[in-house]
Symmetry: C2
Subunit: 211 residues, 2 copies
């Protein structure tokens, strides 16, 4: 909608910005974080280096925004945004059935993790984050943690509804189903599928011990 009434200069800027994001994600996926440069991104996007420096101070900043944009696109594709003020915010659905809601969101995550458009640049960035604590911490704080906080919110609602024990720390609890999927994806420790994430949710909610 906004584009229809935007002036030409704004539309050109938006087009350049998108070209820069695409170039940055493609390049980091191909050559890795270390060898990705502002010059390389500019050349691939077909813009001048100064165009990039006008908007961002470093390649880390370009990549951070490119990933935020990629996540927003994925969320939009999954039709999960709720527009709040100017920002699209994302929520884990609350149908009152925690097990079903968690299974649905984890199934969507499986699809995203297996989408090459997401997977290739994400792996490059994750690999750098493992050995570069500053980058890892910054990207996790800005990209991953906000997504994890959606689980915290949903689990808190479940606690209020009596579906999760009140003494559970939701920030730790979410890791019982999120981290196994993340590790299988990151480290190739096993296949990922809907059956797998469904099992994780069931095991986490009802425990391994006999009830």
């Amino acid at each position: 909608m906004a584009n229809k009434t935007a002036p030409d200069s704004a539309r050109r800027s938006e087009k350049s910005r998108r070209a820069i994001y695409d170039a940055a994600l493609a390049l980091v996926g191909e050559v890795g974080y270390q060898k990705t440069t502002i010059e390389g991104i500019a050349a691939r996007a077909g813009v001048g280096k100064q165009t990039i420096y006008r908007w961002w101070a470093s390649k880390a900043e370009v990549l951070l925004e490119a990933f935020l944009d990629l996540s927003a696109q994925a969320a939009e594709a999954a039709a999960r945004p709720e527009v709040v003020g100017e920002h699209a915010e994302y929520e884990i659905p609350d149908t009152g059935d925690l097990e079903a809601d968690l299974k649905a969101v984890l199934r969507a995550t499986v699809d995203e993790l297996l989408d090459p458009k997401f997977e290739v640049p994400s792996r490059a960035l994750a690999a750098e984050g493992v050995v570069n604590r500053q980058l890892g911490t910054e990207f996790v704080g800005k990209l991953l943690e906000p997504q994890l906080q959606l689980y915290v919110k949903r689990l808190r609602a479940a606690q209020e509804q009596g579906a999760v024990r009140p003494d559970i720390d939701p920030r730790i609890a979410l890791e019982l189903f999120v981290s196994p999927l993340a590790q299988r994806w990151l480290q190739y420790t096993g296949p990922i599928s809907y059956d797998y994430t469904d099992a994780l949710v069931e095991y986490a909610l009802y425990g391994l011990a006999p009830r």
Copy 2:
């Protein structure tokens, strides 16, 4: 014991082998997997390149054995080996108290993950494995999976003892407490401590839902 009666040549070989392992682990921690070379390992270990090629075909093979040796040292330090035939094998203790046994082994893992001797080379290798599927799969299969199978064995014993539900898949179940710790360590998604791993074990065994 064996060293006392070993001929001088065997003792020299053992000394060279250990020097090569140490050099390989130090180098990969400093410059990463990509920039680690047989030449660099040989120079640092003070041996000829041919000495390395006599025993190993590639840097991946040297590093794999160096990590296996490092893990064996860590396990010996934790006094967990049971000598079976010629090989030291490692087991998760079975005191009959699954919760206590899992907490103990995860606390030992926290110590290992925070030990720089283990952490620095392990991060370098893990980072490469994220973007290099062949290497990741090989190293996980030879280094990580055998450790995960110790949990499978302990959980199967727990199923026989009635402490874990019989319909649970132990290979998935172990991920509820192992993967969260792995992800916090790999991706800096949160602090790791004994309290944290204790909580993971409790949540996994008894579930998040009210009982």
